[in-house]
Symmetry: C2
Subunit: 332 residues, 2 copies
DNA sequence: CTAAAGCCTGCAACCGGTTGCATGTCAATG
DNA sequence: CATTGACATGCAACCGGTTGCAGGCTTTAG
């Protein structure tokens, strides 16, 4: 029976109950092979009986291992992240790690502040789509093992979702459909993914002889996409590739406001495939590997914690175009 | 200049640099009013110059305050939770608290395990839509301040989103439209919200003289909703109220598969308003107060940590029906 | 001018574990 | 039978702060 004590259970009471030294109790938990099986059993029994559970904080203080990691994302509410967070969290769980979650709100200052708050209590951190400067990232990485997701900084272990491949497929797809002038609706300037997508769009459009314009949406959101439509139509393009699905969804709404039919008069492609087929028309988009990315980043971090090998790791996941109904007509 | 030292900075070095005792350094940070302004400045300068930052773990060990709270949800990827998590996290942030995030995966065992893992490192916990038994919740609440979201256990501080009010409005709305037989598509059996919604649906349907059937979807998800459609149509009802928007969205898909038009032949109402107007037709649903709930729960918890007053708090947020196009025709 | 009252600051114990080293026991070995 | 070594356990220092208490110095009151 676990008695409802006032939380006063320390290693000392267990030691007394089992008739051994405090150190033996400690070892019974952490290195039982050092003790005789008989002693281990006696200690464990006493602990069980008292309802003792080792104090994680005290342990962390003397060993330096907290069993915690931190994960910082720009916006939890952006549907790209929850599956990633979930995957990371479950992976951490398998190794009995706890994860701190931070929301930087797309703000480098806030992100910096969060890192500072977390760093003293974790063994390592993961920054997803970090908005920090390379310099700050390097500074933090010097303090603690650090893994990046969707951010490419030399020498820092990173997991990258290569949306370039999917975007190239998207451009080719649009070209095949006869579009000759497209627009890329950009996301946050500090976003690595955005740079990558913009570059891929421009590059492959040029190669295929398409004209391409860039329109900025700054913050990736439904509203930003909706507002960007004025600028988009002003370019005279006949199709848009948006930084992400949320933006694309906003664009769809903006086009509907103007009675421009999709895909008839205008084609739209998203990125990240976070909406499933839930939009109307269902969104053609670039597939997402966020679950794998979250899982990979976490296990990479744990691996780094084990072997202090500071190898330069760059793990890339490629993507593909998922064709739905915002580029090609349905039911025709 | 912050030198790139090996993390060896302790209170001791600062004490030496400033020419004071360790205790004075400690006080300079925690209770400057106890020291002469001159000393405080000297210590802070030295600390600044060395790049010293107090060790949170050591501090937690002696004070018992970790500055951490834990938040456990059944499924991060369920769009109901991210805004709630985000709100909670930002509220914690305002008080310099760090938040551990746990994903119970809808599994009581897992939830229990997570609580156990977190409890040693946090000052308090928040369980959102807990799947634990009342008994377990009480046991945990006895150890640490604990706030529930969408779970009503006597004596445990709780924040409840009263979807009952919105569901009643939904039933009235359907009755007004002429529906005489509706079905409630249920969610997880252990979910308080589910019980509440089912009860409200049944009760107000009876009062208005509608026939009501219950169909189970068990796990709230798109797929579950889609699969439930067979059972739904089998009842002969002409409208459904789903446990949540995800389920409702699945139902829309299932109905489309069967070429049943919405809202013409069948009416659908969701709950939680997590999809905005993104479905097609846009979903009539019950509004959600998850952001407020997250924020309220966190600040309630922090408040409890301050004043050890074990009052019985029950904070209720009411909801309303948001009428869109899955119940009444659009463009007519 | 002396005593009482503050105000600062340092000492040392403490939070609850972990771990290097020393000690003691017992069996294997020469 | 004495020596060596393996093994099990205890001692005490340490992780990096916090805090009750006491002492020294200055200020205020008598």
């Amino acid at each position: 029976m676990v008695s409802e004590q006032k939380q006063k259970l320390t290693i000392k009471q267990v030691a007394e109950a089992a008739g051994v030294a405090r150190s033996s109790v400690s070892r019974a938990f952490t290195r039982p092979e050092m003790l005789s099986p008989e002693t281990v059993r006696r200690v464990l029994d006493a602990a069980e009986q008292l309802g003792y559970v080792p104090n994680q904080t005290a342990r962390a203080l003397s060993t330096g291992r907290h069993g915690n990691v931190a994960l910082i994302v720009p916006d939890i509410a952006n549907p790209f992240f929850p599956p990633l967070i979930r995957a990371a969290q479950m992976e951490a769980d398998r190794s009995n790690f706890c994860v701190f979650l931070g929301n930087s709100d797309e703000d480098p200052k806030q992100e910096d502040k969060l890192v500072g708050r977390f760093v003293g209590q974790v063994e390592g951190l993961i920054l997803a789509s970090s908005r920090l400067s390379d310099e700050r990232i390097r500074a933090h990485a010097a303090q603690r093992p650090l893994v990046l997701i969707n951010r490419d900084v030399d020498g820092i272990p990173r997991v990258l979702i290569d949306s370039g491949s999917g975007v190239r497929e998207a451009v080719a797809h649009l070209a095949e459909l006869g579009h000759q002038h497209i627009v890329y609706v950009a996301g946050p300037a500090t976003s690595w993914s955005n740079k990558q997508r913009r570059f891929a769009a421009r590059k492959s459009a040029e190669r295929l002889g398409l004209k391409v314009d860039i329109v900025a949406a700054i913050v990736p959101s439904y509203d930003a996409g909706r507002e960007a439509v004025a600028a988009i139509t002003a370019t005279g393009a006949t199709a848009a590739i948006a930084f992400d699905d949320l933006t694309a969804q906003g664009i769809l709404a903006g086009l509907a406001d103007r009675n421009i039919s999709v895909p008839g008069q205008f084609g739209v492609v998203g990125c990240d495939d976070v909406l499933g087929a839930a939009t109307y028309p269902s969104l053609t988009t670039v597939s997402n590997r966020s679950v794998e990315a979250g899982k990979a980043a976490l296990s990479l971090l744990l691996e780094l914690l084990q072997s202090q090998s500071p190898r330069d790791i760059r793990y890339v996941l490629d993507t593909h175009l998922v064709v739905r109904n915002t580029t090609v007509g349905h039911k025709e």
